[in-house]
Symmetry: C2
Subunit: 199 residues, 2 copies
């Protein structure tokens, strides 16, 4: 292909993004030529700045451009309720849903002995010390229902068992708006055994 | 949403790309955090460089990072055959198809009196002077079949009429691999009236 060198470099960069194939990368790269110079500079700067300035919140492990993230700094939130998540993407998902007013703890991974990921490899120790300083805290575990997620959930349960900590996990069941006949068997089984009385 | 400022800037930049909505922009922006620092720098540099270094070829109007584009510089191509296109994106489409060995002329627009685009507003004058210097050249018009495309085609025909120029346009008809019953009526009509004898 007769793309000028600088353009094929740009296409290659776009191709590294998730879900962007050859065709889309070409389309996106060519669209940059219609941007104003300011727009392109802003784009390039926010790319570099995002990578450079974002790091983990020293309290909860969520990404932030400060020492502590906005959620940990927010006095109006209930700091006695901690939702434990696998990654920062889940934090954004919760914040979008918008009904949760506690704080978070981002593990940045899940326990997976088969991959050599042990409890000390993920952001767990700081959760234990956070919880120690709270008075009858509540921990909500919101990890995915894979072997790694379940292992991590069980491990967390074991750590806090017998301590003055209320611990729960998200409910499993039918996603809202889903046709029952399209559901996989495991979810359906789970929804059946976790059925709730209609009062 | 509680995105750090620098991240929401990046999301906004991604949102300006064609076909990228809110959700995709967030996903793409978050994926940047998994890039290495070198990758991000390369990405940012090729963005800025593409916008800065690419300009129009002084011969044909195609984009290039030199004075003349690679196609115009290529001695092995037939410079007596000029394919007239609306934009540089069409050049890349032709080059991908890979069977055309002539050169191009990019109009960077189409005549559209209703939008105030007159013949002198598009890259036409330089086509006329290019053609003048050639010996019995062939011009292939490859413009889309809209009012603007047809107007421009007719205008080109009028300019070169009576001169020593062979002029043709791409054939209209059924796209390869398309089901006949899904075709729009105008294309079907055109394919019917342009039918070719089977010899």
């Amino acid at each position: 292909m007769a793309y000028p060198r600088v353009l094929s470099d740009l296409i290659n960069s776009f191709k590294r993004l998730p879900g962007i194939g050859e065709k889309s990368a070409e389309r996106l790269a060519l669209s940059i030529l219609d941007f104003s110079e300011d727009e392109v500079n802003n784009f390039a700067n926010s790319l570099v700045d995002s990578r450079k300035n974002l790091h983990k919140c020293e309290v909860c492990g969520h990404i932030t451009d400060k020492d502590k993230c906005d959620i940990c700094l927010d006095e109006s939130r209930d700091h006695n309720v901690i939702c434990v998540l696998e990654d920062y993407k889940s934090v954004f998902a919760f914040e979008k849903a918008g009904n949760y007013n506690g704080v978070y703890h981002v593990l940045n991974g899940l326990i997976s002995p088969i991959d050599g990921v042990n409890p000390e490899d993920i952001n767990l120790a700081s959760l234990v010390s956070r919880v120690k300083e709270l008075d009858h805290p509540e921990i909500i575990i919101a990890l995915k229902s894979t072997i790694e997620g379940e292992t991590t959930t069980l491990y967390l349960k074991k750590i806090f068992e017998g301590k003055d900590v209320e611990i729960s996990r998200l409910s499993y069941g039918i996603p809202m708006g889903t046709e029952i006949d399209y559901l996989d068997e495991i979810t359906l089984d789970r929804a059946l055994s976790d059925r709730k009385k209609i009062s």
